[in-house]
Amino acid sequence: MTKYRIDIRRKHGLADPEGATTARALHDLGYSGVVDVSFGRVIFVDTDDGDASDVAAMCEQLLANPVIEEYAIEVVE
């Protein structure tokens, strides 16, 4: 069995209201050097018979929305 870690992020330049709000809060706390905050999600997929190209297909089809998100796949164990 292979465990994949998939990191999904909003594409750069598209609205990320959670990130923008968090960046403002960090500024309020004095972290004036913060330029950008963006949110994403992490999905772990354990599979017996899939390779990285299958996981990429899963991302394109369901796990990510390629219109507004980008993703990175990593084997973790």
Binding site: G13, P17, E18, L62, L63, V67, I68
Partner: protein
């Protein structure tokens, strides 16, 4: 005039849509999302709600429900397909409409009437309206913020696919009148051929004076007019 109103686990307002369309003379019926045939229907409405709990992303799971193959077929055949609120999100996830809906700019669930201006009559949702009409409809969403990559947004505008823009009561499109941060104040769009349309506000909740507004009637009446049998 026969319309299917798709029901997913977590849909809402489907009966409101059925009722509102029925008062306009449409034979509207709810259809469970596991259904594999929409034979006999002239068009389909995907109502609001939180289909499949909105897990993963709004509309992401719903777009793979069995009934969606039929919805895609209807879209391909040029028949009316309309998505309201969550239904709009489902149609974007299914790539039947461009762009996507993300969290509102101010990270607040918005539940109030908002004004919007009709931008185009070239769709099954606005054929009976007039450009410049200002409609007041209830908005009821957390993820109603329409976004699209810059090139796609340009295409949407260039092809006149914007149907509705948030505006003030006088019809002026301003940042202050944009409730959720949607790009270009977009409240509703269509596909290139105009038979698939989606909007975030709820026309069925503004379809009778007893509900406090009839702003949704021109939109639902447009859909009723567009629901002609395929053989006609």
């Amino acid at each position: 005039m026969k319309a299917a109103v798709v029901v997913f686990p977590g849909s809402n307002c489907e009966r409101d849509v059925v009722h509102a369309l029925s008062t306009l003379g449409v034979d509207a019926r709810t259809v469970w999302h596991r259904e594999t045939s929409l034979e006999g229907f002239d068009g389909v409405v995907i109502p609001g709600g939180f289909a499949h709990g909105d897990y993963l992303r709004t509309g992401a799971i719903a777009r793979f429900s069995p009934v969606m193959r039929e919805v895609e077929r209807f879209a391909d055949e040029g028949r009316p397909v309309v998505g309201i609120c969550n239904g709009f999100q489902v149609l974007c996830e299914a790539r039947l409409l461009p762009g996507a809906l993300v969290a509102n700019r101010d990270l607040r669930f918005i539940c109030r009437p908002v004004d919007m201006r009709v931008e185009s009559t070239g769709s099954v949702l606005t054929g009976e309206a007039s450009v410049g009409d200002v409609l007041r409809l209830p908005l009821n969403s957390y993820e109603g913020n329409f976004v699209a990559p810059a090139a796609e947004l340009e295409r949407i505008e260039a092809h006149g696919q914007v149907l509705l823009r948030y505006c003030d009561p006088d019809g002026d499109v301003t940042d202050e009148a944009n409730p959720n941060g949607s790009s270009n104040s977009i409240a509703g769009i269509r596909n290139e051929s105009g038979n698939v349309a989606g909007l975030m506000p709820h026309p069925e909740r503004a379809s009778d004076p007893v509900l406090g507004s009839t702003g949704g009637v021109p939109l639902l009446a447009s859909l009723a007019t567009a629901l002609v049998p395929a053989s006609a």
